[in-house]
């Protein structure tokens, strides 16, 4: 198990929270909630070690499109980057509802 944290600049306020996914094989759980400061904070617990750079790549791409001040917590059980991106999108979509 490995833990990473990343911060990204944010310029929009978030209001709602969202939870998607499950910590099952090839999947992950995403908790998204408003962050009090002008920054997006991401914390990742992953079962697969050694993929810090890939996580950064996936999040870098996500935060080029997403600019809200959120706290995102991820519990990952070996999801592919594609699945991670999909769950992040779903969390954003759910937080809009």
């Amino acid at each position: 198990m490995e833990t990473f944290t990343f911060d990204y600049p944010a310029d929009q306020k978030a209001t709602a929270r969202a939870h998607v996914g499950v910590v099952g094989s090839g999947d992950l759980e995403v908790l998204l909630e408003p962050s009090p400061d002008q920054t997006a904070h991401v914390r990742i617990n992953t079962s697969v070690d050694g993929y810090g750079q890939v996580w950064k790549n996936v999040l870098d791409r996500f935060f080029t499109r997403f600019r809200k001040a959120v706290r995102i917590e991820i519990n990952d059980f070996g999801a592919t980057p594609g699945m991670v991106a999909l769950r992040l999108e779903q969390a954003v979509e759910e937080s809009r509802q």
């Binding site: 198990m1 939870h19 759980e29 079962s47 519990n75 059980f77």
Partner: protein
């Protein structure tokens, strides 16, 4: 022709219950618009033991407890998420269920008729929390038995993980147990039996055999569960409502001691080794 079209619509619109996550399952059983989760993921009550063993936790520890109404009456549904650690019972997961049952009992003692439902999709004790998993399962048993005189405790095993280990005892203690054909109910999982007793005792890879021994249809055919329902969320929700409307059973299966002891005496262990053999003895028509 019309019939065929209706069939297609039915196939397309059918909502599989097995498909649903534990959270969605709890929603499917509660009256629309009444669902409210207790100790949800944002409460962040996750296992204190998994991270010590390098295992990623889940923020709800794999159990969803939701309150709401069933048929307009107060209810609580506890659903086990089988995708997380095989639906295993750790300290928090198990305690969420035990606490929900105890709070439901306290409701009844105060005159609030809270209806309890358990979604039992579990391999049993979470090995990484071994003794605490076992301890909370004992507490779940105690809580079901204490609550049962007040209100039927309805259990559901939908599939596909099945209900095994100490939680199979919890299933057996429920006032009313609903299964689908995809469900399995047994104390020891097939793999464990193969491991402990050898492949000659049981070939765990033979799925047809496994379901013929402990699958939902077999359990229903020999009267070890109360109701067999197709894997359809609406049908299961209706079965739950009907179970509460029907009220208390005449007797609990786990208290039919003379009947089952007599049945055991009548069994020749050399002959009764497969599903059909047991159906011949205990099949529909013959009551315990």
């Amino acid at each position: 022709m019309t019939a065929a079209v209706t069939d297609l619509d039915r196939l397309l619109s059918r909502k599989s219950f097995i498909e649903l996550s534990a959270r969605e399952r709890t929603k499917a059983l509660l009256d629309a618009g009444t669902w409210r989760e207790l100790l949800g993921p944002f409460d962040r009550l996750h296992s204190p033991w998994l991270e010590m063993q390098d295992i990623v936790p889940q923020e709800d520890d794999g159990v969803v407890v939701a309150r709401g109404l069933i048929d307009g009456q107060p209810a609580v549904v506890a659903g086990i998420e089988s995708a997380f650690q095989g639906g295993s019972m750790g300290e928090i997961a198990g305690m969420k269920i035990a606490a929900a049952l105890d709070l439901a009992r306290q409701d009844h003692e105060r005159g609030i008729p809270t209806r309890p439902v358990l979604l039992l999709e579990t391999g049993g004790v979470r090995l990484q929390e071994a003794n605490l998993g076992l301890a909370v399962i004992a507490e779940i048993h105690a809580a079901i038995i204490a609550l049962r005189p007040h209100v039927p405790v309805v259990g559901i095993i939908a599939g596909l993980v099945g209900c095994f280990g100490g939680m199979s005892l919890a299933a057996a203690l429920c006032s009313h147990l609903i299964v689908t054909p995809q469900a399995r109910l047994g104390m020891n999982g097939p793999e464990v039996i193969e491991q402990e007793a050898g492949i000659a005792e049981l070939d765990a890879s033979d799925k047809r055999l496994i379901w013929s021994l402990i699958g939902g249809e077999q359990r229903a055919a020999v009267g070890l569960v109360d109701q067999l329902v197709e894997d359809d969320a609406d049908a299961i929700a209706e079965a739950v409502r009907a179970a509460f409307r029907a009220g208390q059973p005449d007797s609990y299966r786990s208290q039919q001691i003379p009947q089952f002891l007599a049945r055991l005496v009548a069994i020749d262990p050399a002959l009764v080794t497969d599903g059909p053999a047991l159906r011949a003895l205990w099949g529909k028509g013959e009551q315990a």
